[in-house]
Subunit: 155 residues, 3 copies
Amino acid sequence: MAEVVHMIDSEVFMAFSTYATIVILKMMLMGPMTSYFRLTRKVFANMEDTPLGGSAEDRKKMIRVDPDVERVRRCHQNDLENVIPFVVVGLLYALTGPDLSSALLHFRLFVGSRFIHTVVYMMPLPQPSRALAWMVGMVTTFSMAYRVLTTALFL
Amino acid sequence: MAEVVHMIDSEVFMAFSTYATIVILKMMLMGPMTSYFRLTRKVFANMEDTPLGGSAEDRKKMIRVDPDVERVRRCHQNDLENVIPFVVVGLLYALTGPDLSSALLHFRLFVGSRFIHTVVYMMPLPQPSRALAWMVGMVTTFSMAYRVLTTALFL
Amino acid sequence: MAEVVHMIDSEVFMAFSTYATIVILKMMLMGPMTSYFRLTRKVFANMEDTPLGGSAEDRKKMIRVDPDVERVRRCHQNDLENVIPFVVVGLLYALTGPDLSSALLHFRLFVGSRFIHTVVYMMPLPQPSRALAWMVGMVTTFSMAYRVLTTALFL
């Protein structure tokens, strides 16, 4: 990691910034999507979220679990579990000064796999499509982690 | 991003460090708050967490779902879903070298909105107060993401 | 934070990269562990994940909640709630230029405590072993946050 200081100003770091921001924005959109499903299906988690105007009993019935809402939430949770490791490991990886082409390959594979994962999960498409999309993201992150550990190992 | 190296040593980066740490600490406190509710309401998720001394049957009854505990947990989850994107995007944003006043505005709005969000969620106050607090945080993060993408775009 | 630029190229930053990557990899392994429990116990969250070949009714019965699967998922969630704050605060802490020995102590304590936390949670071992492991991680992160705030405070 000798040339790290110069690296932070590099095309690799700009590419990381771009792809990390895009995939974080994608993850953030799962929040509004959950709200959309909650509002259209009238399924809420809190009493204060149910629409005013209905009777207390009607509103209480809206506090329930809905399969479509749970699906969006699982998709969001899977993003948290995978996108955040990518961002952390990807940042450290970008600072190890990899080749631009190699870095772009990692970032594009990961971000592409997460977009596919979301589409497959929400449709839903039959397995193993979701499993494969998830796997591509995992392998990409592991590959970057391997470079970080082999370049910067200091225990 | 030409002057990134000098930027990391700047007031903007110190401001980011300060606000990011404060809002992460706030998020971390949701953990102990969950434990507090679990212990005072005697509601647990694991058998090994129930108090020793009770009969096995009494302890099994404590493995249940409680509305107050679930409310803290949803609040914590909402923090994970919003604070972490802020921290990631905010770090990249700080490295694009924004004006100090503009950066402070973003950081203060976001961190303020999350404190308000937590108070509103825990009281709870009527909607749309929580929705608004959440929205301010989202818009702030989107605004920073916009600057990162327009400054550092490299696909 | 005057000498931050030189710090990023230091042994402290390499140590941070190493420990952050290791603990993120540990967290990521909770995903495959959940899949392993789901597949061996035949407990799924989505219809499309249930094995082909069974009747629709048999497959529907596999959409249920299993205590072992939920345990892994709680362990994973606890990692998200604790490891991510460590990574964020640890990065900022590494940039404040702490002593190498002090930084290594923080990183080793945190990462060690999270490995112990996972083992204790999965066995499970009796309390307060899990509470203590969790506490060590919290205190370590708070200690680093204290240094960040006292070194870089800019409100």
